[in-house]
Amino acid sequence: MLILHCPCCGVDAEETELHAGGEAHIKRFGPGSDDDQFHDYLFMRENPKGVHFERWQHANGCGKWFHAARCTATLEVFGTYRAQTTEPPKDIRDAITAKRPGWVWREFS
């Protein structure tokens, strides 16, 4: 049972209040993109055994989307943050580095 801190309303919400939204920080490709770009945008998800960035919605709560940095192997949560960003903020990255030196995720590290 995951318990995540909603940065929008401050509630430590258990999973039954949350809706999982899959990988975070995905750039949208629309008309004009080539087949590979579009394919990767829709289907090619990071699937790391380790540090992962994902989207969650506080569905049975304030209704807002937020992001979580989580380890898929231990379910450790490094932090949650607002969804209105194209990359994980520095404090989150630092928190991860402190726990998982040398971690890499897509272009982030």
């Binding site: 809706h19 999982a20 699937n47 055994k49 231990t74």
Partner: protein, 414 residues
Amino acid sequence: MKHYSAFAVAREALRSHTGWERAWRSPEPKKRYDVIIVGAGGHGLATAYYLGKNYGIQNVAIIEKGWLGGGNTGRNTTIIRSNYLQDPSAAIYEKSRSLYEHLSQDLNYNLMFSPRGVIMLAQTHHEVRGYQRTAHANALQGVPTEWIGPQRVKELVPIINLEGPRYPVLGGLWQERGGTARHDAVAWGYARACSAMGMDIIQKCEVTGVRQENGRVTGVDTTKGAIECEKLGIVVAGHSGQLAEMAGFRLPLEAVALQALVSEPIKPCMDVVVMANTVHGYMSQSDKGEMVIGGGTDGFNNYTQRGSFHHIEETVRALVETFPMISRLKMLRQWGGIVDMTGDRSPILSKTPLGNCFINGGWGTGGFKAIPGSGWGMAQLMATGHSPLTEAFSLDRFKEGRFIDESVAAGVAH
């Protein structure tokens, strides 16, 4: 290989069963094999078995990180059916189901394949129409299924509650030759047969790298050293992504947890498999007498083989409503497995960007029932470069928008 039979057991009984030989050898890896299969689960072992049986390719190693059959093959709810809607699914699952019919004899190992029949309940008008559609499709696909009414459902499943206050049972899609099998035995039976063909099953050996030269696979690095091969098959369920990364390509897969549970054993009370997709639960009774119960997957990427309890809760309350008599039975054990899911929830059996490297994965929640068919098709693909069974399940379908979506007819892929 010593032949298994009642007579053999009787003979052995007289000498206190001291004469049984190992079901499979446990060799050290050779330097080189024609084919290496990574993953000694059902799919990997079946692939190896049909490579040997159908194509005479027997210089094969099956490499397993843990113990053979220790992954999802030994963690599922053992349902076997082929009443799928889309042509490619119906083809491979029906091939699989029909192979199961005679697999115990073929492998000389009793898998306890029990064609007790599978019902998929329709509890809304939408589901009724969905399953009637499936029945029509199945008739043209050579998959014997039948739409049945509530009374027939009740005859087949006396413990069912037709008049649930929320969803009455409006009928169901009935596949008489669907059923269950003993999941561990499937892995053990294939392993024994592979070993007998001279194939090497190398357990507790983890692949740490994939070797390649100018675009073609040449072997693998393992915790037991480097092993060369002509062709490589990656058949590792939840860990397909990790292996693909070693081979230098990515897969449209995500790993999530799927949970199941069993009740304490009781005397036989339900002789068919029932799936209730509107309320998300399915149940059958094992030969031990346990009610074997499963539901949907957890929603997030997870490699822990543990799920969240509320999914168990949702499944159980659905089944208590559907089968009220289980209310006072007790949950004996719950567990989880890691399944890898694709964009259309259908599997990938395909060539890969790396020459002579093949992938078989993405079975999601539907893998066990597919083991023989998957192995059959995968062996054909690896041996000949083409298989009608696997063609539609290629990697490029996502780019072309050519999906194989089974959810459309109210069905789920369990």
